[in-house]
């Protein structure tokens, strides 16, 4: 894979004051999500945050690990079903339901990771796609998922047994905490020694091996972490919408998260968030146009791949000559 240009955008080397730009961006993002619900529909913003977390988790794997997973929907959906089932059938409180959902996604990550990590590049993408499809068909048949009906009327419950989450502001606060928690965890991971090794593996795996790193283990950890956080997003989303359905495990969902990350900027920190905001907004406001949304998404894919590979945040980062 090293003979051709790697998938991620070329990040500028760290210079002094790099963190200042990222700090500004973080502050902007926080302001947007804290003040946004005063102006925009809170449920819409909660959806954006869940998908932003999903995209950030996906980006961890492709942008920093160099592995394109085309089956990430399986984590979103598995955690969604698990959390919905826990909240509705077992009556767990929301924080436990979300934890359970996330844990299920982590387990799935370990199992599928062991199978998929053996290959790279295109093969890895195809394998994740096929595994995700297998999981889709399993959920289609399984009793507990309700098939086409999905798990409906999922109770939001009382957080810690105290705070009633059917109040939209309480729910919003929870989603806010989950999103920023997940985002900061990813940020920390990227800038940690682990993250550096990942980047090294992405750039030149044989060299990393020769330096003594067990690249398979690093890649697996990155994969599981990515899947777990995607699961966190899915588990939370199931409670926000009080519904877990097949749409979350369908391969088109895997394609959407790729699109969000591509539009925002592969391998950038804030790119996936911007990408999620753009794509979800587009879906919302173009919903009346029906199937044209798919066409527009496809067109954006094509344009991004041909002309706009760095994505929005990637281009901004290039202009500022600072990693974002």
């Amino acid at each position: 894979m090293s003979a051709t240009q790697p998938v991620t955008g070329t990040q500028q080397p760290a210079a002094t004051g790099q963190f200042r730009h990222q700090g500004v961006a973080l502050a902007l993002m926080a302001a947007f999500f804290l003040l946004g619900p005063l102006v925009l529909y809170p449920v819409f913003l909660m959806k954006v945050m869940c998908f932003a977390l999903f995209a950030c988790a996906f980006n961890l794997l492709i942008g920093y690990g160099g592995l394109l997973s085309f089956g990430h929907a399986m984590f979103l959906g598995t955690a969604g079903y698990a959390s919905a089932h826990a909240a509705k059938v077992w009556g767990l409180t929301p924080e436990l339901a979300i934890l359970f959902g996330t844990a299920s996604a982590a387990l799935l990550g370990v199992v599928t990771g062991l199978l998929a990590i053996r290959r790279q590049g295109i093969y890895f993408a195809m394998i994740t796609l096929a595994l995700a499809q297998m999981i889709f068909f399993f959920y289609l048949q399984a009793e507990f998922t309700g098939g086409e009906d999905g798990i409906q009327a999922v109770p939001r419950g009382h957080l810690f047994g105290l705070v009633d989450l059917s109040n939209v502001w309480a729910m919003y606060a929870v989603v806010l905490v989950v999103f920023f928690g997940g985002f900061l965890l990813i940020y920390r991971t990227i800038h940690s020694p682990f993250g550096q090794v990942l980047k090294a593996i992405r750039e030149n795996e044989p060299r990393a091996i020769s330096l003594g790193y067990d690249t398979t283990r690093y890649k697996l950890i990155a994969y599981v972490l990515s899947g777990t956080l995607a699961g966190l997003a899915g588990a939370t989303k199931a409670l926000v919408f009080q519904l877990a359905s097949l749409t979350d495990v369908h391969w088109t969902m895997s394609g959407e998260v790729v699109l969000m990350t591509l539009v925002g900027g592969l391998g950038t920190v804030f790119g996936p968030v911007v990408g999620a905001l753009i794509i979800i907004s587009m879906q919302n406001y173009l919903a009346q146009l029906g199937a044209w949304v798919t066409v527009v998404q496809g067109a954006i894919f094509v344009l991004c791949v041909l002309l706009f590979r760095r994505g929005i945040v990637g281009e901004i980062a290039r202009l500022l000559r600072r990693p974002l």
Binding site: Y41, G147, E148, D149, L243, S245, T247
Partner: protein, 402 residues
């Protein structure tokens, strides 16, 4: 003193009247038509339902009465997550007061839940699952047109009486199919028949060959098609291809609409026995309405779903006018307290579990030679009166019924 009292009374009256006016949220009554606009159920409801709703608003004379009424429309793509998100947004952001149609039982159940949570109203004409007035009943939902129990009792009973006493089901794998299979199986067993098995197929299946083979292998006398729309059309066509009817088994279409028969053509569909709540050629007022509808719908005649939307919206507007409010729970209660009367369904009532009652008809599809023109497809085999057509109130398991 008397003058002051009169003036106070007058002012008070004016305030109350003004206050009552203000109880119509946003001063506009917004009706949302949500259904499948482009998929396998699009001909049954689709854009036609929007036309029917608009016709009802017009015929009600909203403009002359000084009521502002708007009709919105959207496609739920037969997906519960799309439907429930759309419903939520319509209620929270767009100020929609009532959602009508909503075929596809899985979506209907989800939207019913959201409607209940937000205290709005849903008039469901399109979905079939009898659970909507059973264990999933709600004070905010009225199930207007038909349901799986009525279909099972109508068509199921009729087929068993003519000798079809062993059944195999080809079931659409979601809430509707399961409910229809369950209700029909009960009818078959009660009439002394046997259910030999069932196979579930995904919604919107294109190729039924493998399922039909299983049905063939079961050697059941009747293959019950617990599916609808495009799925039913495909099952019937492909059964012909595999020589199933020649092999001696018969097909029972448990939910068939006029538009499905149109899609199949009389040559393939002739002899099919089905149960519907309405047909354009039943009486003069229905005929007149159908012609008006067809003129706006590219010459295509209305299905019973379209008629249901018209009837439901009309009664809704009457209830809003009478109760002077568009608060969902209150309007639904008002609708249940007023008997229904419209040019299409005639007189009817709405029960406390949300079930609307009206007579139902057993039709048989005409032979090509018997039909005088397009959409002249049915002959009436029997009329089932309202009291017998629907599940008894006590059997539904609805928590609202004491």
């Amino acid at each position: 003193m008397a003058v002051l009292r009169k003036m106070t009374a007058a002012v008070a009256l004016a305030l109350v009247a003004g206050g009552a006016q203000a109880q119509i949220s946003g001063n506009v009554i917004k009706i949302g038509v949500m259904n499948d606009m482009s998929g396998l159920y699009a001909d049954i409801g689709g854009p036609g339902s929007v036309i029917a709703a608009r016709m009802a608003v017009e015929d009600f004379g909203a403009a002359k009465k000084g009521m502002k009424v708007e009709v919105l429309a959207a496609d739920h793509q037969n997906k519960p997550d799309v439907g429930s998100t759309l419903a939520r947004q319509w209620y929270d952001v767009d100020g929609v007061d009532v959602i009508v149609d909503v075929p596809t039982s899985s979506v209907a159940l989800a939207v019913s839940q959201v409607t209940r949570d937000k205290g709005k109203a849903m008039l469901n004409t399109g979905a079939a699952s009898s659970d909507l007035t059973g264990k999933a009943c709600s004070p905010n939902t009225i199930h207007w047109l038909y349901d799986t129990w009525m279909l099972a009792n109508g068509t199921g009973n009729a087929v068993v009486k003519t000798g079809g006493d062993s059944w195999f089901f080809l079931t659409s794998d979601y809430a509707f199919g399961h409910a229809l299979e369950r209700d029909t199986a009960e009818v078959v067993k009660k009439a002394g028949g046997k259910v030999l098995g069932a196979v579930r197929h995904p919604l919107n299946t294109q190729d039924f060959s493998s399922f039909l083979l299983q049905a063939q292998a079961s050697k059941a006398k009747v293959i019950g098609l617990a599916n609808a729309g495009g799925d039913t059309i495909n099952s019937i066509k492909q059964a012909a291809e595999f020589g199933i009817v020649q092999g001696g088994q018969s097909l029972a279409g448990l939910l068939v609409f006029l538009t499905d028969v149109h899609g199949l053509g009389l040559k393939t569909a002739q002899g099919l026995v089905l149960t519907e709540s309405w047909y354009w050629d039943l009486n003069d007022s229905s005929r007149a309405w159908a012609k008006r509808f067809a003129a706006q719908h590219g010459g295509k005649y209305p299905s019973m779903d379209h008629a249901g939307v018209y009837s439901a919206v009309l009664h809704y507007l009457k209830a809003v006018e009478a109760g002077k409010t568009d608060d969902g729970t209150k309007v639904v209660a008002k609708m249940k307290s007023m008997p229904t009367d419209d040019p299409l369904f005639g007189k009817g009532t709405i029960r406390e579990d949300g079930r609307k009652l009206h007579p139902v008809y057993l039709f048989e599809v005409k032979k090509p030679s018997e039909s005088k023109g397009p959409y002249d497809y049915y002959k009436v085999r029997a009329t089932i009166p309202a009291e017998q057509a629907f599940r008894p109130l006590k059997d539904g398991g609805c928590p609202l019924v004491k």
